[in-house]
Amino acid sequence: MMTHEESIEFLATYALDAVEGVEREAVEEHLAECPRCRAELDAFREVTTALGNSVEPLPEGLWTSIASRLPGRGDDDRPPMPRLMRDEADGADGGDSGEGAVTPLVRARENAPGRGRFATVAAIVVAAAAVVTVLSVSLVHANDQVSQLQHSQGPAAPPGAVVAALETPGHKVVNMEGADHVRLAQFVIADGRGYLVTSTLRSLSADHTYQLWAVINGLTISLGLMGQRPNQTTFTLAGSPSVSRLGITVEPSGGAVVPSRPMVAQGTV
């Protein structure tokens, strides 16, 4: 066991990652038990952070590569792809019963070992982050728009949440267009939540699903799975005013971590 005095001698060198082997192990063993040495190490690490803090432009495609290695389909030890939340106001219409239980976009890790302390804090953070989004206020004639959307959706009235969203000042309507600018779906985003208002997306076979994506600062990020017959779904943007586009792809039923096929519909936020 390394003494405190011996450890002190090593800390600056250790902060530079220049201690190896048994010496490194001994320092780490002592650090685990010595708050004074940890504080000293943290002070040296402020220096090394400043020494190493030069920013380089990130290579194109690196984020996609990272995202593709995040936990995904077919990895039993990892969490499944997040699924879009079904709007509670939508009730149990059973329309997508083949899709099973719906999981919120941001999944809790409460069950993961060693992560309990995140659970409650995370709830607050996610709530805070979810308030976000979409700042520009376009004063829309909400009632007219609701009528128009109801009309476009046919006899099925949109659930209350969608109407409420459309009446929220500052909401945004995103038209999702496919080839030849044909509108295939429409979302409304208000207070950090997005709702599918209408959809004419065709039904998919059981082994496929629609998947919704957001483009944020040039990065394409999965918002979740929409199922085979998108109906009334809800998603939460962990808030960013910089969501520039939404896109929908058709993916294998478990979803994909990065879009594996061209977008079937896209819309500018």
């Binding site: 220049a18 690490r45 190493g52 380089e56 432009p57 890790r109 995370a122 960013s240």
Partner: protein
């Protein structure tokens, strides 16, 4: 309304703990360039630096609870990870012979919280100056260890000095730089 750009790093890590890919993307946006920049500087190889950057962010995704906000900033944590992995790569691949000369470019990322970025880079400039002001023996030992990824034993060998001497010089140099940061009023600046 709180925008994601205003969410603190610590809050983002908490969201990552709940599998928020958007939070991870935001951390990548804020700190990816620094993580990659340091790895590239140590490795002098873009492809290996990308591998290190991937490892760092995947590890944050898989083990977010390893970040302790009480012990420093997320940038510091990620750079420590990046440096450790880059050094491991240098040592295991014996990549030094492949390295070319050249300095990492220092450019602020447009999207990152500019106040933090400017502050971080100001601190970096301060430390770079402090490094330049060190006695040659101390400065050289620190550079060989930190930027070239040598162990202090290797540094001693390269400089033809006793290991204990090198260790002391590194320590003295680091303390001097630390003191300069404190004198310049940037102590704990990024905390």
């Amino acid at each position: 309304m709180q925008q994601i750009g205003e969410v603190s790093d610590a809050q983002l890590v908490t969201s990552i703990a709940r599998y928020s890919e958007i939070a991870l993307a935001e951390v990548y946006r804020r700190h990816g360039g620094a993580v990659y920049g340091l790895a590239r500087r140590v490795l002098n190889n873009a492809s290996e630096a990308e591998d290190v950057t991937q490892e760092v962010f995947l590890r944050l995704w898989n083990q977010p609870d390893r970040f302790d906000p009480g012990r420093g900033t997320l940038r510091s944590f990620l750079l420590t990870q990046s440096h450790g992995r880059a050094v491991d790569a240098v040592r295991s691949l014996n990549a030094r012979r492949l390295r070319e000369s050249g300095e990492a470019r220092r450019t602020a990322t447009a999207e990152y919280d500019m106040q933090h970025e400017v502050w971080d880079l100001a601190v970096a400039d301060q430390v770079a100056r402090a490094l330049g002001d060190l006695p040659d023996d101390e400065r050289r030992a620190i550079e060989l260890a930190y930027f070239d990824g040598h162990t202090y034993v290797e540094v001693a060998d390269l400089l033809g000095q006793p290991e204990g001497t090198v260790k002391s010089r590194i320590r003295n140099g680091m303390r001097r730089m630390r003191a300069q940061l404190v004198d310049a009023g940037v102590q704990g600046a990024d905390a």
